[in-house]
């Protein structure tokens, strides 16, 4: 009934009013969001550069940037590094650790849960650059980790040089795990305890309950969370850049770092744009999966 009256009032005012409401938002998104994406496609076929001959005259170079990209061994290294970083820090790290924390915290002492939860959340709330600083110090030669292992009688390790990828992965786990923890805590709270209790009565082990009841029950949350966390991790720049600068060598150069180096250190904007298109492409595919997982 009420929706009928609402409809009739709106019909009177209908016309194009909706456009006035939406116009400012659409305009600003078109100029600063959509247009740059289209520019990405356009520039990636040009020789756009910040300095030198190419800076004066913009020329189409066809798929030169792309053939260069597939021949460039550093691109292959960056893609590989990005994959390791994504799988290590997002898919396995944050996702599994977040799930483990949420699972272990269930039905525990409230005070204890609060303390652990707050500690993990602190890493999430802390801004990226401060995370980089904290973890950089932690892993540095004179850092806390080396102080601990030498006091245990082991020799020092130059973590940032010997296993740089591991340090940035751990840093991103430190920074991001709380998100997955919160998501899984909410999801686990929704699993009806009757089902689990019934399984216990039937003599199921804890492992069986976990793999056959709990995980299948929250399967959709796992998929959605996986997409979201992967997407967030794909764009990580500051954390790696401030900790290792992509190095030593190219050992922690992920696609965002490589894109930055090509565009702003080597002034090859066209080439840098081609790389960002690759990044965007991966992002678009993951986003489409994400939306599909949400619609279900």
């Amino acid at each position: 009934m009420s929706s009928l009256t609402a409809g009739s009032i709106h019909k009177k005012r209908k016309s194009w009013t909706w456009l006035y409401f939406l116009l400012p938002s659409i305009a600003i998104m078109l100029v600063f969001f959509i247009y740059p994406i289209l520019l990405t496609v356009f520039y990636s076929f040009t020789n756009l550069a910040l300095t030198g001959e190419a800076a004066k005259e913009l020329k189409f170079v066809g798929i030169d940037n792309y053939t260069r990209m597939f021949e460039d061994p550093t691109v292959r290294v960056s893609i590989w590094n990005t994959l390791i970083f994504l799988i290590g820090s997002a898919v396995i790290g944050q996702q599994v650790l977040g799930f483990l924390i949420a699972l272990l915290m269930k039905h525990k002492n409230r005070w204890f849960r609060r303390v652990i939860g707050t500690i993990v959340l602190a890493g999430w709330v802390t801004p990226e650059i401060v995370c980089a600083l904290c973890l950089y110090s932690f892993f540095s030669d004179e850092g806390t980790l080396n102080a601990i292992i030498t006091s245990l009688g082991f020799t020092e390790v130059t973590w940032l040089f010997t296993v740089p990828m591991l340090t940035v992965i751990l840093a991103n786990i430190w920074h991001g795990t709380a998100f997955s923890m919160l998501v899984f805590q909410a999801a686990l709270d929704d699993v009806p305890s009757e089902i689990e209790e019934a399984a216990v009565v039937d003599g199921a082990t804890k492992w069986q309950i976990l793999t056959r009841i709990t995980i299948p029950y929250i399967k959709e949350t796992i998929t959605t969370n996986m997409m979201l966390v992967t997407l967030q991790t794909l764009g990580v720049f500051g954390l790696i850049y401030a900790m290792t600068g992509g190095g030593p060598g190219t050992s922690t150069t992920t696609l965002p770092i490589f894109m930055y180096n090509q565009a702003f250190v080597n002034y090859q904007l066209g080439y840098g744009t081609a790389i960002s298109l690759l990044l965007l492409f991966i992002g678009i595919i993951l986003s489409l999966f994400y939306i599909r997982s949400m619609k279900e």
């Binding site: 600003i28 652990i116 959340l121 801004p127 650059i129 110090s137 702003f264 965007l280």
Partner: protein, 277 residues
């Protein structure tokens, strides 16, 4: 292992694992907190030589740091304000009118919320050069607004859906215009939603490093996030105490806002409004 023994292990094991995880998570954070009050801070977590507030005093009285902090507040505050305002307007027809394109539009919005901003920064840089917005604080705010619009629209549309239309109709009958209806009836009922969007938008850009790093050039335009990075490079090797103090000061708004946001998100943590839609 007998059953009794086994049961005991099951009882104690989760606490042990969680404590271990907790210790691993807290050590890097403890370092920054302790170093910030240590007269003689190093990279290792250690008991302070002498507890002091000097690091904080030095960092806070430095005019450049104050400037960077204020610029950061201006950027994130300006962005949060504009996003809420524009998203509220955009959410209105999406929530109240029957529009043919509503569903594809909302899906596009959702799609845009998840795209990595990092991937568009090179062309945005080029665009800013040609629009003469490069190295301009307000330019950065504009880009921050654009990048947060999809999230703002998505959230506020869903929040607005839960405000009953009857209340607005009552206002219309009393002669209120559509705008007055939004301002006097809808917006006040959406305060929790508006605060959630404002807080998340603000903390997102407050913590963002890449966007200002690409779009700003002169150090006098740097917000806190860039200043701290600069600090890291310049004095990082020498003065850990000050660096830590500045980091703590910089992290405080994020922490305070997170705690505040918990008051507005009464329903706990779901998939960011994704269950509605």
């Amino acid at each position: 292992m007998n059953t009794k023994h086994r049961k005991w292990v099951y009882q104690i094991l989760p606490y042990t694992i969680l404590t271990f995880i907790g210790v691993c998570f807290i050590l890097p954070l403890l370092w920054v907190l302790v170093a910030s009050v240590d007269t003689n801070a190093s990279q290792t977590l250690q008991a302070p030589t002498r507890i002091t507030a000097d690091n904080y005093v030095d960092v806070l009285t430095n005019a450049e740091n104050q400037r960077a902090y204020l610029i950061g507040l201006l950027m994130s505050g300006g962005q949060a304000f504009i996003v809420v305002l524009l998203a509220l307007l955009a959410a209105y027809p999406l929530s109240r009118y029957q529009l043919k394109f509503k569903k594809p539009f909302m899906l596009t919005i959702l799609f845009m919320t998840s795209l990595p901003i990092t991937a568009v920064m090179v062309p945005v840089y080029q665009l800013f050069l040609s629009l003469k917005l490069y190295n301009n604080i307000f330019g950065v705010i504009l880009f921050f607004v654009a990048s947060a619009m999809p999230y703002g629209i998505w959230m506020l549309k869903n929040f607005m859906d839960s405000v009953p239309i009857e209340l607005e109709e009552a206002a219309w009958i009393d002669g209120a215009s559509v705008f007055e209806g939004i301002r006097r009836v809808v917006a006040p009922l959406m305060v929790p939603g508006i605060c959630t969007v404002a807080i998340f938008t603000f903390s997102g850009s407050w913590g963002n490093f890449f966007v200002p790093y690409i779009l700003l050039q002169s150090p006098e335009n740097f917000p806190a996030s860039l200043k701290i990075y600069q600090f890291f490079g310049q004095y990082g090797m020498a003065d850990y105490g000050k660096l830590a103090a500045f980091s703590v000061m910089y992290a405080i708004p994020s922490v305070v806002l997170y705690i505040l946001s918990q008051r507005f998100m009464s329903k706990g943590f779901g998939m960011q409004g994704g269950t509605k839609g």
